[in-house]
Every structure is written in C-alpha cells, then in structure tokens.
Symmetry: C2
Subunit: 350 residues, 2 copies
C-alpha cells in the first residue's frame, strides 16, 4: 500500500485575490472539478492502491482540509498540523515519522493540476520496484515549453522501463538554457512529487541533514493527538532548519531515480497559466460567473457569486472579482499581481 | 421672486452602473459636493433671490427627491409627480400651472454641473428685464469645444447687455459644422435651462401645441395633493403628446432671447466627461474609493464603499464598481456603455 502524503503548505500570492494566506489556492476552485486539494485527494482515493491520506498543513488551514476531506467522503485521513512553516523537508519528515517506517510515501503538493491521472498512476507503477529496492523516486514532468520558472531534472541511464538515474538537478534556468534543455531532451520539470519508503527517506535525511531529523523526531515524540489531528510539539519543531526537500535530501541522495511522466500537469502558477488552461469562447475569453463581454478578446473574466462583470472593447486582460476585491492586470504582466499583494501588505493598517 | 423648476426626469444609460432607472445620475455623487440634484438645489437656495423650488419627477424618484430636499434643509418645496414620462414640454407645463401665473420660472435639469454659480446668477440678472417684458429666455452655454452631442443656439442682435435675439436653433451637428460654429462665434450650447414667466410660457404653448396645454390643465385641475406632493391626474396627463420643450415651444416662440453664459457647465454626459472633470493624480488617474493603481495611467478608477480596486499596468480605462456590478471600458469608447445596458435589458429574465 502507498500512503499519500499531501503537502498543503504555501500561500501563493500569484493568484491574488483568489489565493490569500487565509485561503490559499489549493482551497479554491480554479480549474477542473472542485478545488485543487479535492482534486489531489481524488487522485489517490482508490483504496485498492492507496492507504488513507496523510495531510500536512498549517493551523490556519485545518478547517479547509477537514471540509475537503469530509466532502470527499474520507473518514480515516490523518492531518499533521505544522506548528509553523519550515519548508518541505521538515514537513515530509513529520509525515515519514507519523506511520509505519516500511510505508511507501507518495508525496504531492496539494495545489497541482493533473488532467491525465492514469498516466500518473502508470508512472507510480513504473517507479515501485526501484522504490521498494530502496530508491527515492522523483517524478519528472515532460516539459511542454522552455519554462524559466521551474527547476529541471536531467535524466541519466535507464535503469528500468520508465525509470532513469538522475544525472543532476538544474536550478530555474535562464530562457536560453531552458530552450537548450528542451532541444536536447532528457530534461524534466521538477514538480516536487516523490515516491519513497519512509525509512529510506529518513535515513537519507539523517545522513545529510541530521538537525532536521532530530527536531522532527522530537516534535513527533511528544506530539499531541486529537482525533484525526496530530499536533507536533512546537518548540521541538521550531528548532528545525527550514529547508526544501530538494536541497536537504534529493540533490544529495545516493539512490535517486526520475520517472518521466506527462500527466497533463500544471502548478497553476498564476493567472496567465489559468487562462491557458481554461475553456475559452470564440473570442478567446475565459468567462466564469455572470460576465458580459462585448467586442472583447483574449481576456480572463471571472466574476464571483452574485457579481456581474461587464466589459467592452478590452483585450488580453485578467479581471477577477472576489468578495470586495477587484483585480485588473494585463495577461502578459499577470505575475506582477505579487506587487499588489506586497503593496497591500506594506500599507495595511495591521 | 424666481421660482426654480427642477426637472428630474430621464434615466441616462451613459453612466451605468452608477446611473440606473432606479437611481439616475442626478441622485449619485459624481463630481463636486453631493449628488447632482443637491448641487442643483444649492444653486437656487438663496431665499433673497429664489422662491421655494418646484420639482418635477417620476414616481420612482420621489423618495430620492425627498431625501435630498430634507438634506438641503428645504421644508417648503413642492414635488409634482409625473404619472408617466412625457418629455420636457408637458413637465414644464405642469410646473407652470402649479403656481402663480405671474411667477417667473427658472427651469433647470437636475443633473447638470456648474462650477461658476455666480456667473449663472449674473446671467439670470441680465435676462430678467427681458423676461419681465414677456420674453422666453434660454441660457446659451459658451462652447469649449466642437461638441457633436449637443444642439446649438445661434445668437442674433444684442437687445440688452448680455441678452441677444435667437437667430436659430441648430440640431446636433456633424463635426465640421460644429467646428465652423465655434470658429464663427455667436453659437452656444442649448443646455435646456430657461427663464420665463409662467403665463408667457403657457400662452406660447397654447398657441403652438394646444393639446399639451389642454392635457396638463386637465391633469392639474383634478390633481391630488398630498403634503408637498402634487399628483396630476394620470389619464388626463397620458393624453398629452410627448414632446421636448425645444420642439414644442422654444423653436417657434415669438419672443425668444438667448443669454450667453459660461458657468463651468457640463451635463456630465458619460464616463469620459466625468474623467475630464475630475481631479487626477500625477499619472492622470482619477481615484475614488479604495484604489491601488501601479504603473497605471489615464484611468478613471472608482470603487464604491467597501470595495478595493487593484490595477496594474493598464491605461485609459474606465473602471467602475457599484454594488454587484463592475464595468470596464476604454475611455475612448465610454459611450458604448449603452450597449451593455441594452444587452442586459435584452437578456434580463424579467
């Protein structure tokens, strides 16, 4: 049995106003059926293949997680409540310590889109023999374009059908380097999705970053259990360094394999990405909610419940209403929504 | 004493969503202090010069009128409630029949801006001798640009300081004709503002359009009085032709004079006009309400109470939020807001 570990951390600012620190994007319906967390749960809900999920989230998001779990009809999930955000290495370590050391963990961010779940399942099957033999497996997403916003994984020798050694990790590349990797082939996006035995992960962690293992072991030894919730000890956990799993474990792991896969993946990393993913009308407009668009082209137009959005003669804009907020930004500049979030934080009366 | 007659008809579509049939633009704060109706009241509130005002409005707007009158501290206004809209000639006729036949009426639309009220008062003073001698006086607004959206008045001989005969009325002109009139001089915008004795107006009306006079006289003869409200008889009033006062009376009047004036006038005829009138920041943005504008230029950005409007990298847009509605339209196309109102009316479930 594979234990799904869903990492529900992070509070992206790139999808403001939909995504906020209170309700980050995994709890918002963005694309596909239901919110991104629900979609992640659905990917691993088959009990013939997957054990009950283990979710790692912050205290502010427990209610969202519980609601989504209940809505998915899952009664036996476990929720590890991180006392504070310490990046992915400590989060995965808590999960690895929470159950059977022999368990095989499928680690997934909570806020990614996959339109071809069958392809993902096939990749898991391909990875399993190597993982059972002790490897840490990372899933490498077949790149569709020379994205400069992701890290890449360069694959090496094929060691089994659909499984390769990892030659090296590549930091977020400049455009020309990304184009060269695409042209060369054998390079995949690092999506932060892993399959590995808990004991093997913990052994690699202890070898490379013993302070993280010590802090998390301490936090779990005195954890408070409250129904489905596990509350690791705050003081112990806060003593852990804050590190990404890539940096702390994967890049230096002895037995690391990459499993190339093309599961129709997106990290839905901003409004422009959402525009590309969504259904459009004949004029290239995405329309969500009550929208009137006259002589308008190429816009992402999203009105939340009860609102009415009327546009005339505008092109290639992102327009999003949510509650009291209205965002207007050109699609080509959609990443600059961060500057609004920063401005609002800097000018907030709080 | 001059009796102010404020015509609060019309339900412009050019300032949607602020202006609607329920709350047309005269009851909205657009520019200046308070809503346009309040500003119109304030123009004629000096009891040394003006009698209590007489307001003509439709049934749907009585509550708005009463609220504005109360807020202005006016306790002795009279409100004539038109049973239906029949354009300006019947509306003015009701007002002329409501009081003393010797009264001098100052007829004004309720939704115009004047930034130089003193100039307007001087023009009234200039007009008074001719009006007392029997003339109908129309105020001609000194044109600031070759506007094609207004009718013009061509002035003739000067008959007194600041008072001229009317040579002719000019329908809304094409651009080249408007430019020629500006170059020639002696042409003024017809703003629908008049000064005249009630009996002289009624005499001209009866001479030119007796059916209007008959219908309105019948409607007032059996009018129902309810405190400050006068309810003309509906059946009688509905028998009146629907005509503008220009067409029914002014264009054919025997003793018509024009009083040129430059009172900083605007009919606030659309969002582009409002943009021009309003205060702007260094980047040429009008900001009303809670607005965050980053790298944005030349926009009219209006967030209603409680809303927060955040824009990045957009130029020369009109963005207006009101209640559940959000409008986005380029300034240069602002008159096309009508097409939204028409679209909404055509697709309304009602």
């Amino acid at each position: 049995m594979i234990v799904p570990v869903i990492l529900s951390g992070g509070a992206g600012t790139r999808l403001w106003p939909i995504s906020t620190s209170e309700t980050p994007k995994q709890f918002q319906p963005l694309i596909g059926d239901g919110d991104m967390f629900r979609q992640t749960l659905a990917r691993v809900i088959d009990r013939a293949r997957f054990a009950p999920p283990l979710i790692v989230c912050g205290p502010a998001h427990v209610a969202h997680v519980e609601a989504d779990i209940a809505a998915a009809g899952i009664a036996d999930a476990t929720i590890i409540v991180e006392p504070a955000a310490r990046n992915t290495a400590p989060a995965i370590t808590l999960a690895a310590l929470a159950g059977d050391p022999d368990a095989t963990l499928l680690v997934m961010p909570a806020d990614h889109l996959m339109t071809d779940v069958a392809a993902f399942h096939r990749a898991i099957n391909a990875a399993l023999p190597a993982v059972e033999a002790g490897a840490l497996a990372t899933f490498g997403i077949a790149p569709s374009h020379p994205e400069t916003g992701y890290g890449y994984i360069a694959s090496g020798d094929i060691i089994a059908p659909g499984v390769c050694h990892v030659r090296r990790f590549v930091e977020k590349p400049p455009r020309d380097k990304a184009e060269a990797m695409l042209a060369e082939g054998g390079h995949y996006w690092n999506a932060g999705i892993f399959l590995m035995r808990a004991d093997r992960f913990l052994a690699e962690l202890d070898r490379q970053q013993p302070p993280i293992g010590r802090a998390c072991a301490g936090a779990m030894a005195t954890a408070r259990r409250d129904g489905a919730l596990i509350h690791p000890d705050e003081d112990a956990f806060l003593s852990s360094p804050s590190q990404s799993v890539d940096y702390a474990v994967m890049e230096g792991a002895k037995q690391l394999v990459v499993v190339p896969v093309d599961p129709g993946w997106s990290d839905v990393g901003g409004w422009a990405a959402l525009y590309e993913l969504a259904d459009k009308d004949d004029a290239g407009n995405v329309r969500m909610g009550e929208v009137v668009a006259l002589d308008a082209r190429g816009n992402y137009l999203r009105a939340d419940g009860g609102k009415r959005l009327a546009v005339v003669g505008v092109s290639n804009l992102i327009v999003v209403t949510l509650g009291n907020d209205v965002l207007i930004i050109p699609r080509a500049r959609a990443q600059e929504v961060k500057s609004i979030v920063e401005y609002l934080a800097a000018t907030s009366p709080d």
